[in-house]
């Protein structure tokens, strides 16, 4: 008996084709996602796909931190041609990394508060301390950060505070605290900006009410969000970058910003002043880390050691107006820079600043919700 088989030569009808492709799709979804174990979104593994030449290296960093001069000097001493790519927020950097982009980079410059997350997701390598030179030159308090005790994962490159820049001509009575923004809100209407960053802005509101920058009590975080909503009609914007040109030009009178951004602006426009609010603020550190997928680990260690050399660190700090954490480099800087209260704040100012702490996911969710309310309404 010959079994009656359907005639294979007939083309599929549209409906059959549709049904088969639907089956194929659902099969894909099943094997991919609906099974009990599921797949992992943005699972970064070292598959060894990217093999860079030993004399080449990619660096993922903030705009201000690396310039051509530094890259050239590094190439002369090490023979490695380094190329930079820029990010403008830690979150965007993390997302790019997890989307697989990290595989090209051998050095990344994240902020300290995001180190625990990168560590827990195994995105960065623990550093071999024996291959690093000059660690003892680092500021002692930066060696003992709760986010990365003993610099196991990252080596500090720059640090600073978060505060307020204001135009002393438009505002002769000094701005001294966060609450001044609320006090003078009518006069400052649409002439002030806050950072576009949930932790910094909610933290500032929390500080103004006498709580911690890293408050974990959901009710207090919500209260901070409500306090910010009362200021919102008077704000020109939430922005991390755009305020800089506008405050120099005189379009803005007060802006929340980082000390590293404020320093150069104060030189451009002497009427501008930078203060760390009385009730306290945050201090931040940006570090150099080596991603798990780094194609050129050897070059990465060479880079860190090169950047940490006191003369290189001092020259970089002067040229790029960043605050170096390298004590030996600070000693090489001109006296007026060493005593610049914006770049190198005295201990009494630093003491009222908190380092941003890593938040567990449910607390982070509370901050996200409060921020959504502030920015979306």
């Amino acid at each position: 008996m010959i079994p009656v088989l359907p005639d294979r030569s007939l083309p599929l009808s549209r409906r059959q084709l549709l049904r088969r492709s639907m089956l194929g799709l659902s099969g894909l979804m099943l094997s991919g996602g609906l099974s009990s174990c599921g797949w992992r979104l943005g699972n970064v593994q070292n598959r060894g796909i990217i093999q860079s030449a030993a004399n080449e290296m990619f660096i993922y960093t903030w705009a201000q931190y690396v310039d051509q001069e530094l890259l050239k000097a590094f190439q002369t001493t090490s023979g490695i041609r380094a190329v930079t790519e820029l990010f403008d927020s830690n979150e965007a950097m993390l997302a790019a990394l997890q989307a697989g982009k990290g595989a090209t980079f051998s050095i990344i410059y994240p902020s300290e508060y995001i180190i625990p997350e990168m560590r827990d997701k195994k995105l960065i390598l623990p550093l071999d301390q024996s291959r690093l030179a000059g660690l003892t030159n680092l500021l002692p308090h930066l060696r003992q950060s709760p986010n990365d005790p003993g610099n196991r994962y990252g080596i500090p490159f720059s640090w600073g505070t978060t505060g307020l820049v204001y135009n002393s001509e438009k505002f002769p009575e000094a701005i001294t605290d966060w609450d001044d923004l609320w006090k003078y809100k009518e006069r400052l209407k649409r002439r002030m900006t806050l950072l576009n960053d949930p932790r910094e802005v909610l933290g500032a509101a929390l500080k103004s009410m006498g709580y911690s920058y890293n408050e974990k009590n959901p009710d207090l975080v919500k209260k901070a969000g409500e306090k910010l909503l009362t200021l919102k009609p008077y704000l020109a914007n939430f922005t991390t970058d755009a305020w800089r040109d506008q405050i120099v030009a005189g379009d803005l009178w007060v802006a929340m910003g980082y000390s590293s951004d404020a320093g150069p602006l104060l030189q451009q426009n002497p009427k501008l002043k930078y203060i760390v609010p009385q009730s306290g603020s945050s201090r931040w550190v940006d570090l150099m880390v080596i991603p798990t997928t780094a194609p050129n680990v050897e070059g990465a260690y060479q880079w860190i050691n090169f950047v940490m050399q006191p003369d290189v660190a001092a020259a970089t700090a002067k040229r790029l107006a960043v605050t170096t954490p390298n004590l030996a480099a600070i000693e090489l800087l001109p006296a007026d820079v060493q005593h610049d209260p914006v770049a190198y704040p005295p201990p009494e100012i630093l003491d009222r600043c908190e380092a941003m702490a890593f938040l567990d996911r449910s607390t982070a969710e509370v901050y996200d919700q409060a921020w959504l309310k502030v920015t979306s309404s």
Binding site: S9, P11, G33, L41, L235, A236, D251, E365, D368, T375
Partner: protein, 296 residues
């Protein structure tokens, strides 16, 4: 058996040709579309069923939570604002673009048409980001506009970081699309009908409303929809020009994926919703546009 074999041999080429032809022609673009459009869209669709997912988490679809969150008042407000911006931009583009397209397509001398059209499309050759930054320097309190106003003794305008700035930026970005499509539609206008209308005693206004507009209605619908869809997805202009109260659906989606408050599940649900809304309006256009075209 031998006969069956030879039969197979005879039939294979025809079978192959029937399959090979579309396969060869469609394969390159098909692979492109499947890998870079269909698959990512399916992944977004799957992620929309995972509450609060971030990179590094397991993807375990578990319900409609993300979609329910779209109906929270705050999210609805954001979506409403997006629609308002998009509708506003469409209306302004239509008001500004129709006279231009009419002049270009109907009145302007033929030999100038291409050059004028080119001049109108020229801004599209620069980056949209750059054009938004240009608007910042024009609209800011001490910017170009206010310097001009001050020099002729007029009071200054405070437009930047507010809704008017967003509408100005988006209208400026999308106006060329409106003009191009309307021009294509107006150029084909049957002028004999206009003459006939005039002959039969219609006023110019009546002619315009009852003769010109119905002829270009499919073009009007297509250009308005294109502008509307692009305005709905624009996040550059609201982000740069809109100030503190300019959160739109597109910006929120961006924030959910790459911003400081990552939640790829919610972002995917909102993306899916936008895709559905846009698909529906295109489907409506195809249906509506076709019927109009056959009516004429």
């Amino acid at each position: 058996m031998p006969s069956a074999k030879s039969k197979d041999k005879d039939r294979t080429p025809a079978w192959l040709v029937r399959w090979l032809e579309p396969l060869v022609l469609l394969f390159p673009a098909g692979v492109w579309l499947v890998l870079l459009l269909v698959l990512p869209t399916l992944i977004i669709f799957e992620l929309s069923f995972v509450p609060g997912i971030r990179p590094g988490d397991l993807v375990i679809p578990s319900g409609l939570g993300n979609y329910l969150r779209i109906f929270e008042p705050l999210t609805l407000l954001v979506i409403g604002r997006s629609l308002l911006f998009a509708i506003g931009t469409t209306v302004f583009c239509l008001l500004l673009g129709f006279p231009v397209a009419y002049w270009l397509g109907v009145i302007a001398p033929k030999r100038w048409q291409n050059l004028l059209l080119l001049a109108f499309v020229l801004p599209l050759w620069t980056s949209s980001l750059l054009r938004s930054y240009a608007w910042i320097s024009i609209l800011r309190p001490t910017g170009v506009l206010n310097s001009l106003l001050a020099s002729v003794g007029l009071p200054s305008l405070d437009l930047l970081n507010q809704m008017p700035a967003v509408l100005i930026g988006m209208t400026y970005s999308l106006l060329p699309y409106m003009v191009l499509i309307l021009y294509a539609s107006l150029e084909k206008l049957d002028r004999r009908l206009l003459e006939a209308a005039a002959d039969l005693g219609a006023t110019p206004a009546q002619t315009f409303w009852w003769v010109t507009v119905p002829q270009v209605l499919p073009g009007l619908a297509a250009s308005s929809l294109l502008v509307f869809i692009n305005a709905l997805g624009d996040f550059v202009n609201p982000e740069l020009l809109g100030g503190p109260s300019s959160m739109t659906a597109a910006r929120l989606i961006y924030n959910k994926f790459l911003g400081a408050t990552p939640d790829w599940g919610m972002g995917s649900a909102m993306s899916t919703m936008l895709i559905v809304m846009v698909t529906l309006s295109i489907a409506l256009l195809i249906k509506y546009g076709d019927r109009r075209a056959t009516d004429l």
